[in-house]
Subunit: 236 residues, 2 copies
């Protein structure tokens, strides 16, 4: 099937895109969309993504489990951080978790109520996501969450990887961001874990001792799930 | 000499950068910085870059020659368009020209009075620009003018080409944008004129019959000049 793909390199550039009638894939490899994928694959019932820490705190006070990350670290007073391993805990099965992160939940919130569908993309569910996209005829926007409004390498690389995966379709790259992402993927693909070490956020998380998190987030096809936004909640 | 390089992919992302004490290289390959380079190399005394068409019109009414481009086309009532060939006219020797373009003059204006130096970069003066940068120890920001706030391929590619040229220095890439630009250059370098045909602005200008302009703007080292901003005017 034919399809058109655009890449938005950071939320700061989203005003240039029309999300209406499009499938938006939110990408925040380190680590929000990797965490959400892990959580739902591990039995969490749903995630409520919110933009602000205060909104997340309010949901915690209503009785929800709540996860808040800023600057790569857990915000004090919350139940969960932004490590995918935290979401593999069997005690979380069947639970709904409110979540706010520096970049990923912002990108999800910006897409809410505007896009036709909002999907969660990560290396962890790459194949499942691609299989789904290959069946669709809608226009696709790959929306990189970046870092505080700036582009980043790992999200751009993964957008390029998805474009490569979809290249067997009659897919048209619709903006320069898509060609740029494809080029970044092309350069890094053979040794991508090494290539992505140049990413500023990789360096930041390494500084926090999070090598294991990064290595897991960079591992393809761990889960056969496709989280998507349904109303205000991310579900399977 | 050691130096640090960042790349800003579009003016919309400039708020994330601190220009103070930096050398800013403004890049608008198609076509503002190519025109400015051509003009000064051809004997034009100086260019006054302005953001708005109205400002440019006001300078025209004061007696300056004036160039205005929007959406790739000349604005009615102005003396010059945004084609490099227009600036090779011997009648322009010694003249000062007021200029406004969709992207390039905006990027120059955003850098004015903030950066330590503002230089004009294009394929046409690539070697001269690199020779200059290689002698400096200041931090460098390669500022891509993009297209109406969006990133574009040709400016990103040229930023990557400059990074490659400077790789014999002990240069540090300071942001993910610099690694992304380097990757784009790496993919396209062997056939860059063909590679850059994918650019949306290339396609736009081809639609206006401007193949010759594009081919000239993509030609390296035509002029041994380095235009820079001095007060409100670009001079040699």
């Amino acid at each position: 099937m034919a399809s058109q793909i655009e890449v938005c390199l950071t939320p700061d550039l989203l005003p240039h895109f029309d999300l209406k009638d499009k499938i938006v894939v939110v990408i925040d490899i380190l680590r929000a969309t990797s965490c959400i994928t892990t959580a739902l694959a591990s039995g969490v019932k749903s995630i409520i993504p919110v933009r602000e820490v205060e909104e997340c705190k309010a949901l915690q006070q209503k009785g929800y489990l709540a996860a808040a990350e800023r600057g790569g670290k857990k915000v004090e007073g919350f139940d969960l951080d932004n490590s995918p391993f935290s979401y593999q805990n069997p005690d979380l099965k069947g639970k709904t978790i409110a979540m706010t992160t520096s970049n990923g939940t912002l990108a999800i919130d910006l897409s809410k109520n505007v896009a036709k569908e909002v999907l969660i993309g990560s290396f962890l569910n790459q194949r499942t996501l691609c299989n789904y996209l290959q069946k669709k005829e809608d226009k696709i926007l790959l929306f990189c969450a970046g870092w505080k409004g700036k582009e980043n390498m790992e999200d751009t690389f993964f957008a390029g990887a998805l474009i490569d995966d979809l290249s067997n379709m009659n897919v048209e790259l619709e903006n320069d961001g898509a060609f740029i992402a494809k080029a970044v993927y092309h350069v890094g693909r053979n040794q991508y874990k090494k290539f992505l070490r140049k990413s500023s956020h990789y360096q930041r998380l390494i500084g926090f001792g999070l090598e294991k998190d990064i290595d897991f987030c960079f591992t393809a096809n761990q889960y056969d799930v496709l989280p998507y936004l349904k109303g205000n909640e991310i579900v399977l």
